[in-house]
């Protein structure tokens, strides 16, 4: 079962200079919300920003990570 800390570290490791905050919405370890700020998001649409974060987890989204709600911005 992924932890909020594990998710945060994986996002920050995969997206250069990003900072992430991750909450477990239900306490069940499968519904998360993440706020991700990364300079590389500048110029990307919201869809592209969210895709970048979802790509960190690949097929785990919808699997062990049942839901990952996102808020993304460049700064």
């Amino acid at each position: 079962m992924p932890s909020t800390d594990e998710l945060r570290q994986r996002i920050e490791a995969a997206i250069p200079d990003s900072t992430a905050e991750v909450q477990d919405l239900t306490g069940g370890g499968d519904h998360f919300r993440a706020t991700v700020i990364a300079p590389s998001f500048a110029g990307l649409s919201r869809i592209e920003q969210h895709r970048t974060v979802y790509a960190v987890f690949g097929a785990e989204i919808g699997g062990p990570i049942h839901a990952l709600s996102l808020e993304t911005r460049a700064e």
């Binding site: 909450q23 969210h50 989204i61 709600s69 996102l70």
Partner: protein
């Protein structure tokens, strides 16, 4: 007939409906809070939309995500383009961008932006 009728049917549905929401359950009986919230935003704007329940056949979700390059449900398409899932649609609803995208009037009583809890809209189950 191509080798992938499910994918063809999804692509046709996206092409044939100006506004189409792929969700878990139906607008009347949503089966997931995120789907409920997204349908509620469309309902609040009074826009006409088509809704597809992805639950009856797992291939629908699989093919939809392959087409859209988007891993989660719900997914809202307007004029053939993916607008987003629950988070983006909710953000756009609150900012008035969704009304603009759909070409409808923003109602006067849009609630203040949510504080991060994604399931607070009554899901009408």
């Amino acid at each position: 007939m191509s080798e992938n009728p499910v994918r063809d049917a999804i692509q046709d549905a996206i092409k044939d409906h100006e506004v189409i929401l792929f969700m878990k359950g139906t607008p009347e009986r949503p089966m997931c809070g995120f789907s409920a919230r997204t349908a509620a935003a469309l309902e609040a704007l009074g826009t006409e939309y088509a809704a597809v329940d992805i639950l009856p056949d797992p291939r629908i979700r699989q093919e939809l995500s392959a087409i859209s390059n988007w891993p989660t449900i719900p997914q809202l398409f307007v004029r053939g383009e993916l607008v987003g899932g629950c988070d983006i649609v909710t953000e756009m609803y609150e900012s008035g961008e969704l009304a603009q995208t759909l070409g409808v009037e923003q109602p006067a009583d849009v609630p203040a932006p949510a504080d991060g809890a994604p399931l607070q809209i009554d899901n009408r189950l």
